[in-house]
C-alpha cells in the first residue's frame, strides 16, 4: 500500500520541549516514536490545539526534523510562526503539555535515484521541511546546498542548522540585513552553477515557488515544491485543499487540468505538475 493509504498514527503526545527561536519563530519537540519512525521529509503532522473547543480543525505543520537516536524515544520537531488563535495557543505549550496529533500525512519529497547534488530553496517559515530533507539527503550520500530567503535576517529560518546540514548556505533578505539583498531567485542560477545542483527542492510563499519553478524550468532542472493550502481534514476527506494540477486529457477530463488534494496527493508536487496559471499569488484569506 502507498503511504497515503496507510493509517497515520493518531493520539496524544507529550511536548518534550518548547523553544523560542529567532524573532518570529517558535519550535515544539514532541515525543512521538510512531510518527518519528515512519516520517519522511515533506510530510506533515496535523495538530489539535488543546482546550479551546471553538477551534474545530487541526493545524497542519511540516515535519521540521526527527530525532531517531538509538535509545531515544523518538521525537518530532515542528517550527511555526503565529498566524492566528491556533498558533497562539500552540506557542503556549510547554514541556509535558499534551497534544493530539495525527501523522505523518501526505507524500514526501522524492529522492534522486543516484548520487546527485541537491539545492534546497526555502523562504521564511516555509523553509520548515528542508532541514529534515537536508539531513536525509546527506544520509543518502547526496550533496546538499541551501538558499534561505526572508524579509530580514530574523526571518531566515534557523540559519545555523541549515549550515550544519549542508555544504554551503546562501542567504537573501529583502532588506539586505543578511546575505544578498533581494529574493532567492536573484541568486538561484548562480548557486546552481556553483553547486552543480541537478535537482531543486523548494518551499515557501507562492510567489517564491512560482519564481523558483520558472527559473528551474528555464534551467531545465527538475524541481519539487512543498505546497501549503488551507486544509480542514488533512487526510483526503473534505476536498478543501485543492491544488490545480495538469492532467492528461480524456477520462472525463477535456480541459487538461484538475484539482489535486494537497493533503494526500501533495503536499509535495513536481513543479511541472502544478498548473501555475490557475494559482493565485495571494489567495484570499491567506496572509504570508
Amino acid at each position: 500500500m502507498s503511504p497515503t493509504k496507510d493509517a497515520a498514527w493518531s493520539g496524544q503526545v507529550e511536548v518534550f520541549a518548547y523553544r523560542r527561536l529567532a524573532e518570529p519563530y517558535h519550535s515544539l519537540t514532541i515525543v512521538a516514536p510512531d510518527i518519528c519512525a515512519r516520517a519522511a521529509p515533506g510530510q506533515f503532522i496535523a495538530v489539535r490545539t488543546p482546550d479551546d473547543r471553538s477551534l474545530l480543525l487541526r493545524r497542519p505543520f511540516s515535519i521540521h526534523r526527527v530525532d531517531r537516536r538509538p535509545g531515544w524515544a523518538g521525537t518530532v520537531d515542528i517550527v511555526f510562526d503565529i498566524r492566528g488563535r491556533g498558533t497562539e495557543v500552540l506557542a503556549r505549550a510547554r514541556q509535558h503539555t499534551s497534544l493530539d496529533v495525527l501523522g505523518p500525512l501526505g507524500r514526501p519529497f522524492r529522492f534522486p535515484k543516484e548520487q546527485t547534488n541537491c539545492l534546497l530553496v526555502g523562504g521564511g517559515i516555509g523553509a520548515a521541511p528542508l532541514l529534515f530533507l537536508a539531513e536525509e539527503l546527506r544520509g543518502h550520500g547526496h550533496r546538499v546546498d541551501y538558499i534561505l530567503g526572508g524579509r530580514t535576517s530574523e526571518h531566515l529560518l534557523r540559519p545555523i542548522e541549515a549550515k550544519r546540514a549542508s555544504l554551503t548556505v546562501s542567504f537573501t533578505t529583502d532588506d539586505g540585513s543578511s546575505g544578498t539583498q533581494g529574493v532567492v531567485t536573484d541568486i538561484l542560477e548562480e548557486r546552481v552553477r556553483a553547486t552543480k545542483a541537478r535537482v531543486v527542492y523548494t518551499c515557501g510563499p507562492v510567489p517564491m515557488l512560482r519564481a523558483v519553478a520558472r527559473e528551474c524550468a528555464r534551467l531545465k532542472l527538475p524541481c519539487q515544491v512543498a505546497w501549503e493550502e488551507v486544509m480542514a481534514c488533512g487526510f483526503g476527506a473534505c476536498l478543501v485543499c485543492a491544488v490545480p494540477v495538469r492532467l492528461e486529457r480524456g477520462a472525463g477530463n477535456d480541459e487538461g487540468w484538475g484539482w489535486a488534494r494537497c493533503c494526500t496527493e501533495g503536499p509535495v508536487f513536481s513543479a511541472s505538475r502544478i498548473h501555475w496559471e490557475r494559482v493565485e499569488d495571494a489567495p484570499a484569506g491567506v496572509t504570508t
Binding site: 473534505c238 477530463n253 490557475r278 484569506g285
Partner: protein, 307 residues
Amino acid sequence: MSDPRLEVDLAGVKFRNPILTASGCFHYGKEFAPYMDLRRLGGVIVKSLSVKPWPGHPPPRGAETPSGMLNAIGLQNPGVQAFIDRDLPWLVQRKVPVIASIVGHSVEEYIRVADRLRNAPGVVAIEVNISCPNLDDRSLMFSSNPDATGAVIRGVRRVSSQPVFTKLSPDVTDIVEIARAAVRGGSHGLSVMNTALGMAIDTESMRPKLSTFTGGLSGPAIKPIAIRCVYQVSRAFPEIPIIGQGGINSGADVAEFMLAGASAVAVGTANFTEPTTAKRIYDEFVEYLTRKRIKDVSQLKKMLKEG
C-alpha cells in the same frame, strides 16, 4: 440490562444503527477505512454526485469560524458513472450501506443522476441535495423554492428504485413549507439540514476567506439551528423519517437530534477532526442509551418532555 436495540427503519430501509456520515464529509469512505471498521456505521451518505464530473471552486475552499467552518467546495465530484464504476464496488465489498447524494443544475440533471443509480447494488437510498443553484431559474437555489423542490422530487421519484430523502436548507423563511413541497412531491424522508450560508473576511489581507466569498457554515455553531429545524419539521410531519444533521460531535448530540424528532443522524464536519469520530460518537451514544435504560433507540423520538 441487555444491549439497547439500535436498528432503525427509515422508509422501509433497515440500518444497523442510526449513525450515518454526512455527504461531503466522508468522501466515498476510502480515506476512513484505515482508521475504523466502516461496518460500525449505520451507513455512508456519499459526496454528492452529478451527471458529469463537476470541478468545484478554486481555493481557498475552507475557513474556520468560531465552533464552525465555512466551505466552498462547490460540489466537486467525479460524476455518478465514475462513482458507480470505482467507488461503489469498494463500499459494497465492505458491506457499507450507501445513501447516494445527488445534485443537478436542473430538474433534468437530477433525474439523470437518479436514473443512473436505479437498482445500483448497495445503494439503499437517495438523498437529494437541493441546495444547488437552479440554472433553469437563475438567482435561486432549488431549496429556497417549494415549486422547484416539488419538481425535483417528483422527477427523481419517477425514476428511482430507492426511497428518496430530500435534504433541506436552513436558509429559508419557512422550512416546513419546503418540507411540505418535498413530501407532496413524494419524498419518503427528509434530511435536516444542510449548511447555512455564511461568509468570513480576513481583516489582515482584507479579502474574503473563501474564493467564492460566501460558503456553507457547518459544525457545532449551527447545531441549535439544526435542532430547531428538525423539531419544526418533525412536528409538522410526524410520520416522515428525518435524518438529523448539523454540528453533531458527541453521543449526547445524537440523542439531542433524536429527541427533537430525528430517526437517524449524519455526522459531518466532526469527521475532519479525527478520522475515528463516527466510531467515538457511536460508542458514546450506546453508553447514553444504556445509562438512560433506553431499550430501543426509536423510543427516543417520543421522549422529549414537552409538558
